[in-house]
């Protein structure tokens, strides 16, 4: 099925072995995560192969807890002797930490069922079987479509096709054992058009999925990249003003991510979120319902159990405008007197922490054209830049590009503008939600309109 972790040893066996060794070395509680995978990338540019990358990797992360003291270590040296020393060193390292009464593994009654993975559409054998020649063909087709679709596309930054076939295994000392295989494929194109004064306009588009059948047709990916480059030709800087702002679906997703980053138990106990104290209260417009759902089949955030082995579940963050609550892992839940929402994320190198899985802003009823129709003058956002969001206050200020809206239509491209406001006020000011729900990786949103924001320009 998937790459064996090492000669004759499965990822799950390796995780089991690390847990046994850590127990033997003195760990009261411990869990081990193993991530095994093979990746490939082909990149083409102007019809030629530019990069062929292929490699397999394998790493193990170990968390030990002794008297409430935690250490987390990771290694890629997995020979039996090295692993034994690694486990012993991890146990030793825990002595540095202070005892923390909230540290600990999940209660076994919360464990997920690894067998659920089979129904979650995470693995596609067709991706594993894809030949290098076929990958090159897909990338070339996407780039060729971008170049052919408009004479103003004079160059490209190439097209690339990447695949990943991997396996995640998690074992803990309270008896949880689970592993599942997962695949992904992504195709990306960047088209370039020449504008005045030596400026280039770039248009980027991609498709990323867990199964080959869901991958968007390469020609369509290429044509979309080309259209997005050409659309920006002659972009101007508008005057500073306050107007309605429309976010295309990909940009609306960024608003979801800002919100979800503030809606974690981690941000809550650190006092670093503007959502503190707002559970159960009105937050957004009644048009807004936001769900975090790790059980949706075939998405990037989908998982049968979380980074601590807890069963995953659908969590409603915002329900018709009301903020329903935060995402927790075991530590933040215990610390704040809550229960875990099965939202622990985990990397090899760090302790679990809560974060969103698949974020969805539920669609409304209006078409994008209907959303634009009522706007005498406004901004339609197709690109955002910079990290101008303050989670503690919700203050929002980011560079943007897109189109100026006049009389309900996209009139001309704009660039070098900044939009600013406060996320809480922006969510409350959403006065239209589209029907055009679109997925980007592990999040989906439709077009949304915010009644008014400050747009800085000339």
């Amino acid at each position: 099925m998937t790459a064996r972790a090492a000669e004759g040893i499965s990822a799950l066996d390796l995780a089991r072995r690390a847990v046994q060794l850590a127990r033997r070395a003195g760990a009261e509680q411990c869990d081990a995560i193993v991530v095994a995978g093979s990746e490939s990338t082909v990149a083409v540019r102007l019809g030629e192969v530019e990069k062929l990358i292929e490699a397999g990797s394998l790493g193990l992360g170990l968390r030990v807890i002794i008297g409430g003291r935690t250490a987390v270590c990771s290694t890629s040296d997995l020979s039996p002797a090295a692993l034994e020393q690694f486990a012993a060193e991890t146990v030793e390292l825990a002595a540095i930490s202070a005892p923390d009464e909230f540290a600990g593994l999940p209660d076994p009654s919360l464990f997920g069922r690894p067998a659920d993975a089979a129904a979650l559409g995470l693995y596609d054998e067709r991706i594993e079987a894809l030949s290098t020649d076929e990958k090159i063909r897909l990338a070339l087709a996407a780039e060729a479509a971008a170049l052919a679709s408009d004479p103003r596309i004079t160059n490209t930054d190439g097209a690339s096709l990447s695949t990943h076939v991997g396996e995640v295994a998690l074992v803990n000392s309270l008896g949880f054992e689970g592993s599942y295989p997962a695949t992904s494929i992504s195709l990306a194109v960047e088209a370039i058009a020449d504008d005045a004064e030596g400026k280039k306009r770039n248009g980027y588009w991609f498709s990323a999925e867990r199964s080959l059948s869901r991958l968007v047709d390469p020609e369509e990916v290429g044509r979309t990249a080309a259209r997005r480059a050409v659309d920006q030709l002659g972009a101007r800087k508008p005057a500073t003003t306050r107007v309605p702002v429309v976010f295309e679906p990909m940009m609306a997703v960024s608003l979801l991510r800002h919100l979800a980053g503030c809606a974690t138990g981690d941000a809550l106990y650190r006092g670093a979120t503007f959502l503190a104290g707002r559970e159960g209260q009105p937050l957004a417009s009644p048009l807004v319902t936001i769900v975090d759902d790790p059980r949706l089949p075939g998405r990037f955030g989908t998982r049968p159990f979380d980074g601590e082995g807890v069963a995953t579940r659908r969590n409603v963050l915002v329900e018709t405008g009301t903020f329903r609550g935060f995402l927790f892992d075991c530590y933040t839940a215990r610390r704040l007197g809550r229960t875990t929402t099965g939202s622990a994320s985990r990397s090899l190198e760090s302790a679990p922490s809560p974060s969103a899985s698949n974020l969805v802003l539920q669609p409304g009823t209006l078409t994008p054209a209907e959303i634009l129709a009522g706007i005498p003058e406004g901004l339609y956002v197709t690109a955002l830049m910079g990290a101008g969001f303050n989670p503690a206050t919700g203050d929002y200020s980011r560079g943007a590009a897109g189109f100026w809206i006049e009389n309900g239509q996209l009139a001309y491209p704009v660039t070098e503008v900044n939009i600013s406001g406060n996320l809480a006020a922006m969510l409350a000011d959403i006065d239209a939600v589209g029907s055009d729900l679109t997925w980007f990786g592990s999040a989906a949103a439709p077009t949304v309109r915010i009644r008014e924001m400050t747009v800085s320009g000339r």
Binding site: E48, K51, L52, I53, E54, A55, S57, G59, T70, A71, V72, C73, T75, S76, D77, F86, E89, T90, L93, I96, S97, A98, D100, N155, E190, I192, G198, K199, K200, R201, N202, Q232, T240, R270, G271, A272, F274, L348, E349, S350, M385, G386, A387, G388, N390, A392, T393, D395, Y396, S397, R398, G399, T415, E416, N418, S420, T454, S456, G457, R458
Partner: protein
């Protein structure tokens, strides 16, 4: 201190039996189907960190990662593979995979393996922080905690971390050159939360460099970093909404170098120019900035976060003048772009890890000082913005548009710095903003080592620097009309 290249070679030989005979054999496999050149990049990296919360140590972490990346280059094209195993058979398979970028069959040329030395190292690596006892690091965190809490009663929370890295690299190339480096790196971070009633403000500060524990005596102290985070958090409590629109902006010395990094640095990385995707393509010898502007990228600054003895292709780090008195002089090159343009590599080929491919990257990027004084520059502004510190920035390479988030900024009124401002964003176009530099001061400063540069998903440590500069107009993304 011994030569870092000799230390690296000895490290890989003793730990993993990797010697010139092994590297030459692997390079022969890599070139067995053709190709212009090939290289092996061996890496062994240890990272450890201690995180501090609630006035005590929260978690201790340690990561060891090791592997070899093998690259075969044919023209502008590369074949690439890596493995985490230093077993010969695993490395041989990776070399075969990388060779697949070429379709020919030939007897590879003999490789005359020659170990090179670095010479003078730009940093000391014989007493890395990773070797210090944990108690010494915990003591530094405690000092930061006390300093932040005693700064102001509104500081209710202080999160901090101390991290260190020690990286051994060894590069073996098909031209026979074998060279390596030992790269220490430390990083101290603090995050202070100021709470007044329901109003919460978080501010972060950090620093570090290619040093050991002496950083905390020679460069700064945990107390100074913590007080700075606390000061900024408290300052934000009283800050006013920023104006929106185009205004004169005075960029303070030091951290403002992030503007250069975003506004011009990335656009001058030669991979974008080789492909014709940068707005600086084809403009060498032409004016691209005000005549007051000279921009340098220099990987040789002692102990700086962005410095390297050799780049990840084994070329020595250098000082590169990118823009001289407003004229574009050159790009940052790796081997592929240098061959493409027919110039010497500039020591700018960098990668995040052995798993990542090489790209031209910045090291320490800064603007040289001018003749003005910072006081005169501020006095010359009737109404504008004084921008001091930043949380980050981003650029679109193709059209040069950039943004950056200013975490400490003030209004300038009638030549005087007045009200602190919050949520200030600066947005503009690189060449446009550099053409509007009207005064440059004599107070050049390199920022403390806190910057990390991201490109194509790869992060590398960099330095930035700047004197105080007046830009006659930048769009300020505030909320107040």
């Amino acid at each position: 201190m011994p030569d870092p290249a000799a230390v690296a070679l000895q490290f890989f030989r003793e730990r993993f039996a990797i010697d010139p005979a092994v590297t030459s054999a692997l390079l022969s496999v890599a070139l067995s189907r053709g190709g212009d050149f090939a290289e092996l990049y061996f890496e062994h990296r240890t990272n450890s960190a201690i995180t501090w919360e609630d006035q005590q140590v929260k978690t201790a972490t340690r990561t060891v990662s090791q592997g070899v990346g093998i690259r075969v280059v044919r023209g502008d094209a590369i074949g690439y593979a890596y493995t985490e195993s230093f077993e010969f058979e695993a490395m041989r398979r990776a070399a075969e995979t990388a060779a697949r970028i070429c379709a020919g069959e030939r007897t590879p040329p003999p490789i005359d393996a020659t170990p090179f030395l670095v010479g003078t190292s730009y940093y000391e690596f014989d007493h890395p922080l990773v070797a210090e006892p944990a108690a010494a690091k915990v003591a530094l965190l405690e000092r930061a905690d006390r300093a932040a809490r005693s700064y102001d009663p509104s500081i209710v929370r202080l999160d901090a971390s101390i991290g260190d890295e020690l990286k051994y690299i060894l590069i073996a190339r098909s031209d026979g050159k074998i060279i390596g480096d030992v790269q220490p790196l430390i990083r101290f971070n603090v995050s202070a939360l100021s709470q007044r009633g329901e109003s919460r403000q978080v501010a972060r500060q950090g620093g570090g460099g290619r040093m050991g524990i002496e950083y905390f005596e020679q460069v700064t102290t945990p107390e100074a970093l913590a007080r700075e985070a606390a000061r900024q958090a408290v300052l934000q409590q009283d800050a006013a909404e920023a104006p929106a629109g185009t205004l004169p902006v005075v960029l303070a010395a030091g951290d403002s170098g992030v503007l250069l990094h975003e506004a011009v640095g990335h656009g001058l990385e030669a991979d974008f120019n080789r492909k014709g995707t940068s707005n600086y393509t084809g403009r060498i010898g032409q004016p691209v900035a005000s005549p007051l502007v000279t921009v340098v990228d220099d990987g040789t600054i002692a102990a700086s976060r962005g410095s390297i003895n050799v780049d990840d292709e084994g070329n020595p780090s250098t000082r590169n003048v990118l823009i001289e008195n407003g004229i574009l002089r050159g790009y940052l090159h790796d081997e592929i772009s240098a061959r493409h343009f027919g110039v010497a590599p500039s020591g700018s080929g960098r990668r995040q890890t052995f798993k990542d491919y090489i790209m031209p990257r910045m090291t320490n990027t800064f603007m040289l000082p001018g003749d003005d004084t910072p006081e005169d520059i501020i006095r010359s502004v009737d109404r504008g913005i004084y921008a001091v510190s930043y949380s980050g920035g981003q650029v679109n390479i193709s059209n040069g548009d950039f943004v950056f988030s200013v975490t400490e900024a003030y209004l300038i009124e009638n030549g005087r710095i007045t009200t602190p401002l919050k949520n200030v964003m600066l947005i503009g176009n690189g060449p446009d903003v550099l053409s509007k530099v009207t005064r440059v001061a004599n107070d050049y400063r390199l920022s403390d080592g806190r910057w990390t540069c991201g490109k194509d998903g790869q992060s590398v440590p960099v330095g930035v620097g700047m004197p105080t500069v007046l830009v006659s107009g930048i769009t300020v993304g505030g909320t107040k009309l």
